[in-house]
Point group: C2
Chain length 247, copies 2
DNA sequence: GTCACCAAGTTGCCTGACAAGTGGAAATTT
DNA sequence: AAATTTCCACTTGTCAGGCAACTTGGTGAC
């Protein structure tokens, strides 16, 4: 009944799926679901490491690794000697956004929607409070983009750098980090989905016209115009994305 | 020179700060910085677990735990038999937003700014595509808020639920999760900072008037009006927050 | 020159053990 | 009997050592 039970031999339980998802990860995912779906309520104590270890047929280090993840994500807090407890969601200080299956069309749509919201507002803020240095940097990126176009290149990197310079001008690290992540995600998707055809035959120049409108609004510090220009640009970009998605 | 070197005895190296930050956490933070600051470049191989173990004077399980965190955050990828490598930031599929020191006034300001951007756009989308069920839920939350006010309560929970019902109507989990996090964070700050005085003497009713404007815009599916009403509400809320912050 | 094979190195996971901290029950005192 | 102290079982944090699975580069056979 106590702790001297013979250690269960369960190597055969190895889930060995293709490209092993790592035991700790699957366990962490399960516990994480238990919390999010309310099977484990805030403040409630988790089973002890040993109990989980027995219940799931994995070793304690593996359980510790899984719980460590949850702790890292702010879902649980542990107190040495006492146990592990489900954290109060109101006090959680870390937000985790996982874009899992990027082949899902809805997911892309939702991501792009969030991207539009963040970048449009960021562009507005940039117009409100860009410094002279910010403006110079943005102009430099715009010129670099034009140079790339003149060389006949699609200029994806220059495009990204232009937007990044604008976001930087918001002087808000949360906008910067989130926008950076979303932007990378979408651009990477476009790249891997081999939609580069979208960047052909005069399209870059059309994009550049929209960039210029954004730049000019930021230059004359007109927030409303900047937002509208950004919204227009993003709307068109989303439209181009949609169009090439169906192909 | 090989692996038979005597295990270093370094229990005295225990950093024992107040409320022990856990060895693995500090190690993960250091490695994480190395990556973010570019001392470790994308694609580059990390030192082996054993090397790190020796270098930092901790055991291999601890190193594993730290690397596990980085893996979880999408900063590194590991290949059994090969090693651990810094992940390509373009391919990173998880975004992590950590709101560390919440006593910092700038940080609050930045968070609120992001919250405003997300919720205003979310409210707009809610007006665009709320279902009848969504609308009913939002109305129920609005009524519950009114009931709380009539009972003379501040109705913070009802307020939160009202906003949550709106966000839910966007039908976009990214908006929902991010907004949920930011909202909780700000409200929790207000609570702990004992600014409840902000919720006195007719203020709830003033807030409710703004809520009603938002609700009506969503009801008649007027996106622009909904956004404007939400922006107005959030601007006022931010103003109230600022005012009570200086006290 | 090409290909199969092997050995060293690395991560993934396990067992067993001890230290540090917690909380409640038992023992002691009032 | 009630209050206080002491102590012990339990839990998490960390360590050591070991084996299995996998990768990679080099070596030898052809």
């Amino acid at each position: 009944m106590s702790t001297d039970a013979p250690a269960p031999r369960n190597r055969s339980h190895n889930v060995t799926l293709t490209r092993a998802p790592a035991l700790a990860d699957t366990l962490a995912a399960r516990l994480s679901e238990d919390i999010r779906d309310g099977r484990l309520k805030p403040g409630e104590q988790l089973p002890t490491e040993q109990q989980i270890s027995l219940a799931y047929g994995v070793s304690r280090p593996t359980v510790r690794e899984a719980i460590g993840r949850l702790k890292h994500d702010g879902l649980v807090v542990t107190r040495q000697g006492a146990g592990a407890f489900v954290a109060d969601p109101n006090a959680a200080s870390v937000f985790r956004l996982s874009v899992a299956d990027f082949s899902n069309k809805d997911e892309i749509h939702n991501i792009v929607e969030l991207l539009m919201a963040v970048e449009a507002t960021a562009t507005q803020h940039a117009a409100e409070r860009r410094s002279a240095a910010n403006l110079a940097e943005i102009r430099a990126r715009l010129d670099a983009m034009q140079a790339a176009i003149d060389r006949g290149e699609p200029g994806v990197d220059e495009d990204f750098a232009f937007h990044r310079a604008i976001i930087e001008a918001t002087n808000n690290p949360f906008f910067r980090d989130l926008s950076d992540f979303l932007d990378r995600r979408v651009r990477n998707f476009i790249r891997t989905a081999r939609l580069n055809s979208a960047r052909q035959a005069g399209l870059p120049q059309a994009v550049q016209v929209e960039h210029i409108r954004i730049f000019e609004a930021i230059e004359r510090q007109a927030p409303a115009d900047a937002r509208e220009a950004a919204e227009n640009h993003l709307r068109n970009a989303a439209k181009r994305l949609e169009r090439y998605l169906v192909l």
